[in-house]
């Protein structure tokens, strides 16, 4: 089946070879090439097929490399994510240290940023501690808190109300000027909550509620106690 002006040797065998090579490439053998030993009009076609296989192989290898890189990066990110989550858990654990400071008084000093989740955990810890220790006065000191939003303020109110339901009184102290401004601007009514300016004043209030007061003792008396 020769056309005018074309010289092709051994056409049938060479077409078969092209088919073979293409199918082995498709099957995954990326090294297979035609490498024709003939020099005639069909050689160009064979060379073009070889070229295409080369390009394809390059493309595939490039893609594999990129994929591997991406997978490695993903693994690193996942590892980091895990660390962050673990640290977050730790932080939540550490961030609500409810301490019994005196007969009948527990204190929860809050430091840092308050979000709903943290406030929720704080609330649960505080209530549990109230029940465990049997203390009827709880002081929530928010001196270390820079800002709060509506939701957090709402949580604080809920905490105080829940503490009351348990039979304890909850005092909030250390409201900063910025927070006071925010609260009033947001239209939140904190009048149902007992607030004190400082932790010291809330302690004094707690003593008062416990029918106790602090007395200063004379130095010599103090010395004699030491002996």
């Amino acid at each position: 089946m020769m056309e005018e002006g074309l010289t092709i040797n051994n056409l049938k065998a060479r077409v078969n070879r092209i088919e073979d090579i293409l199918s082995s490439v498709a099957a995954g053998d990326l090294e297979a090439r035609i490498n024709s030993e003939f020099e005639d009009d069909f050689t160009g076609v064979e060379a073009a097929v070889d070229l295409l296989i080369n390009d394809l192989t390059d493309e595939l290898m490039q893609r594999e490399k990129t994929q591997k890189e991406l997978e490695e990066r993903l693994a690193t990110i996942q590892e980091q994510q895990k660390t962050i989550l673990m640290q977050q858990e730790d932080l939540l654990e550490l961030s609500s240290p409810v301490t019994k400071v005196w007969d009948n008084v527990v204190v929860l000093p809050v430091i840092g940023t308050l979000d709903s989740r943290r406030t929720q955990i704080m609330m649960e810890n505080l209530l549990q501690k109230i029940v465990d220790t049997g203390c009827t006065i709880a002081i929530l000191d928010i001196t270390g808190v820079a800002t709060i939003d509506t939701q957090v303020a709402n949580h604080l109110i809920k905490t105080v109300t829940a503490a009351r339901l348990l039979g304890a009184e909850c005092i909030v102290s250390g409201i900063s000027p910025a927070i006071a401004q925010t609260i009033v601007h947001l239209g939140i009514d904190l009048s149902t909550i007992q607030t004190k300016a400082t932790l010291q004043e809330s302690m004094q209030y707690a003593f008062q509620r416990n029918n106790q007061h602090v007395v200063e003792i004379a130095p010599e008396e103090h010395m004699s106690h030491g002996e």
Binding site: M123, L127, V131, G134, T136, A162, L165, G167
Partner: protein, 131 residues
Amino acid sequence: MNDVITERRIPIIKIGNYLIVSIQVDMHDRLAIELQAQILEELSKTGAKGVLIDISVLEMVDSFIGRMLSGMASMAAIMDASVVIVGMQPAVAITLVELGLEMPNVETALNMEKGIEMLEKNLKQRNANKA
């Protein structure tokens, strides 16, 4: 009254001037209504001045029971007695607050002992007011 209800009835104990009710079973709506009626009945019969309701074993309080307790306090107040609820679990308190049942007219105490102290204080105050 059928047997099931009598069997599950919650005991109301009178000690001194107070009635003590310790809820040891899971509350359902009908039991709650009956309990309320029984307590008020007992109040008028004995002339007690205070009611102590211990709910320390209750793991769950729904809005109905919450309202019943809150209503109980208002009713007792009209009958010249005060109600103190003692031993509420933290989870129950959180649930009630989330439900918006803040029970402003109900007095609460951490345990029986503190509850009785509170009732005694209330009674003393009332006597002082009368005098």
